[in-house]
Symmetry: C2
Subunit: 476 residues, 2 copies
């Protein structure tokens, strides 16, 4: 496709924008709408947030900010590795969970054909089991020709229970199929450069390794080898992806809230939360962006759902992200969004141009209720439904905004990833929380370690088994 | 598989139960927990709700209550039709949206192999596009051998814009492939018996027709031909499915809340909502129940999200259903559920026995942090993680309950469908709303009709185009 991302005009034509008109009083009414002055009044807080983000970045944290334009060497290595090995690979399987899987799934759904794995193409078939369901994983291992399959095992620490279990099982299946000597050609390890158990295993087995920078957390890692290795195998242009992120980084570098797409949307989401809109719906009208909403759901929930502020005050904060899909969910969730409590903000995603379209043929002219569809296209229908839903929500005084994507491609996906990451960083600052940890999931993990007999977790085992007895009369 | 559903012992062993221990003060603490007395105090309201449900049913409404045990003729017809035609069908495509698709998707994910469409089996490949995305639908039509494909077009009215558009396009593609004479062998129409546009079209074209009872709404229709025709083609035992629903119907026929699984869970969800837990998470720890959660999401949102009470009072009520998946979403949403606001109830689904399991092999004995996984199985891991998460949530005073499913099969799926339908009916009564309409989505539909030039919607077109001008400065 050439390096079109070096063409300024093309890039500007592909710029992702946010339309926040329907967040404001003028359109939504004074009861629920936000006043522009409320945004202005946030200026000082936003300035401080901006400084804080920059300060942390200068201190070597928030590595995600560097990813768009610091990875030349990494990209060279990934591209040449993929080029060399792609031809022999029929199936590419990602063994990872959460942040190690969701970015690749989002890329797959956005940039591959919707029925990629059923079609005969140059690119390998792609699988992301993303769970430890035994039925599903066994079926996968039995469905694939393991002689032609590569597994990318992704875990920074190498102790993620789900990922390592899948790896151990896959390793055994593959060894049985190809023998011990050939094992190294079927596994890639994507992990920390300097520490961790997966590194030790990969070195021992001679697996190819790619590295996740230590200052990039899992949910911010799609533009590291976590997502890029998969992308290169899938035939996705990773330079264009990074160029998109770099383009958005520039747009998001100003502290001026009215000019910064991440800051304006983040600020409005924050203000809406303060007004009792505790849920944030992401609703793309495009099947290919369906799993971007799922990726965002992790980013938003895990970053912003926190018990304590940075000052150690108990605040139990966090908007709940909800993924939805237009037009499908008009037939499932729209009734609630239109008439239920005023507790949501809807972020639509509208795609301006689809790669292809389908004309609705001119049939059944005499049948009223069907004939009006004639000569329209599916893209017409999808876009009209989006705007009709937007208008209806607005008339019902429901806050909504629209992220406008000129076309779904590598460049716009790169923009979207960076946009939402920076938006999340800002809102974390506004809530005065640490958006980069996840202390709330430790307890559950420790119980599992205890039950499974991991050294050092004997107490947890005891606590797990000493849970209060359940009452039979409460099991119906 | 034989008629095991006629064996009382087997049925009792397959009984779906609900464990609501962790909804109560005794386990959750007094700040957020529900007191058993609060449930007792609901007795009068529940009795009235029960009477109301029975009254509506006696009046010929709420047809879903009749489905488990009134469909012998329909089942005979579907089974013999599927038996006759199944062999020649390589692909079975459902053209429907919302309630016409979600039940079949739930059945497919639950009862077919996880990689069904990639494996060579007796049953046809199954596709449910469920949206009007042009890229995805075009890819489907080009991927399938249309000579060996049957489309089941599902719409009660025959005017659902999305379904009819897909049908019109599919019809043209199929005609080009097989010719006009053979068209009738590639389409089934599932629609109203007595009215509607799809009926007219099907009669004209000579399509096989199946009927949706007029007193069964879309989101309650999975156990009508809407779901059953698909199921029969997929090799699912529809008699066992209905037997499961009949079994649960019996369990849910008592007005005694402490003995009725639908009523106890419905009542507790209702009480939790009154205490500010406005979100209801459905989180199965089993990939195969993932899309049951999505089916439930429509049922719950569209039935209970209502502006007005039956007395025409503006109440803007409705809990927001959220689908999640264990263990995957422990790495995405659990942080928020553990530490965020106290605004959720989690309904776990735990599967007691999986169809198959995978042993984690005994490798890397010397590597601490990996070695503790040895000799366990994936099912062990999944179940332990569920219980660990449950325990951690409970310690953090977060309301949760567990739906226990002995095994995922037709009989338990039938139970689950009926259980959630009856639970929804009860909660609708408790909120004093009409749980069977969806007035909130009409406005958006009308705008689309207007823009597309459907007769009678000229006003809506005008209103659509007269929307207030958006401000450029709010598009960033």
């Amino acid at each position: 496709m050439g390096a079109r991302y070096k063409d300024k005009n093309w890039k500007d034509a592909m710029r992702v924008r946010i339309d926040v008109n329907n967040m404001f009083e003028e359109y939504i009414g004074e009861k629920h709408g936000i006043k522009p002055e409320e945004v202005d009044e946030m200026a000082e807080k936003i300035k401080k947030a901006h400084q804080n983000i920059n300060k942390q970045h200068t201190e070597g944290k928030l590595g995600f900010i560097d990813l768009p334009d610091s990875q030349n060497e990494v990209v060279d290595e990934i591209e040449s590795y993929a080029k060399e090995n792609r031809q022999n690979v029929e199936n590419f399987v990602i063994l990872g969970i959460g942040g190690s899987a969701l970015g690749s799934i989002a890329l797959q759904t956005a940039l591959n054909d919707a029925y990629h794995n059923l079609r005969d193409t140059d690119a390998p078939n792609i699988f992301v089991p993303d769970n430890v369901d035994p039925e599903r994983f066994k079926s996968l291992l039995e469905t694939l020709d393991l002689k032609k399959t590569v597994f990318n095992v992704i875990s920074k620490s190498g102790t993620t229970a789900e990922t390592m279990s899948l790896f151990l099982i896959a390793r055994e299946y593959v060894e049985q199929e190809v023998g011990l000597d050939d094992l190294r050609n079927h596994f890639i390890a994507t992990t920390s450069k300097d520490s961790g158990k997966l590194r030790v295993i990969a070195q021992r087995e001679g697996f190819k390794m790619f590295y996740i920078p230590d200052n990039v957390g899992g949910r911010f890692s799609v533009l590291t080898p976590v997502g890029l290795v998969y992308a290169a195998f899938a035939g996705i242009d990773i330079r264009e992806l990074l160029a998109g992120a770099a383009y958005m980084k520039k747009l998001c570098s100003t502290p001026k809230v009215w000019e910064n797409p991440a800051y304006i949307n983040g600020t409005l989401q924050y203000l809406a939360y303060q007004k009792g809109k505790k849920m944030s719906v992401m609703m793309p009208y495009s099947h290919s962006l369906k799993d971007l909403a799922d990726w965002y759901r992790q980013l938003w929930a895990e970053s912003l759902g926190k018990e304590k502020s940075r000052d150690d005050e108990v605040i139990n904060v966090g908007p709940t992200p909800i993924k939805a899909l237009g037009a499908t969910d008009q037939h499932s969730q729209a009734q609630l969004y239109m008439e239920g409590p005023y507790d949501k903000v809807v972020n639509f995603i509208e795609v301006e141009e689809f790669d292809t379209d389908l004309q609705i043929p001119d049939l059944y002219e005499d049948i009223e209720g069907v004939s009006y569809l004639r000569s329209k296209t599916l893209a017409d229908l999808l876009k009209t439904e989006k705007r009709a839903t937007e208008l209806a929500l607005t008339e019902r005084e429901r806050l909504n905004a629209t992220i406008i994507v000129p076309k779904v491609n590598e460049f716009t996906m790169g923009q979207l990833f960076y946009l939402f990451e920076m938006q999340t960083a800002l809102v974390g600052e506004l809530f005065n929380i640490n958006a980069y940890n996840q202390p709330g999931v430790e307890l559950g993990k420790k119980y599992t370690y205890g039950v499974f007999g991991r050294n050092g977790y004997e107490d947890m085992k005891e606590e797990y088994y000493n849970r209060p007895n359940k009452k039979g009369k409460y099991i119906i």
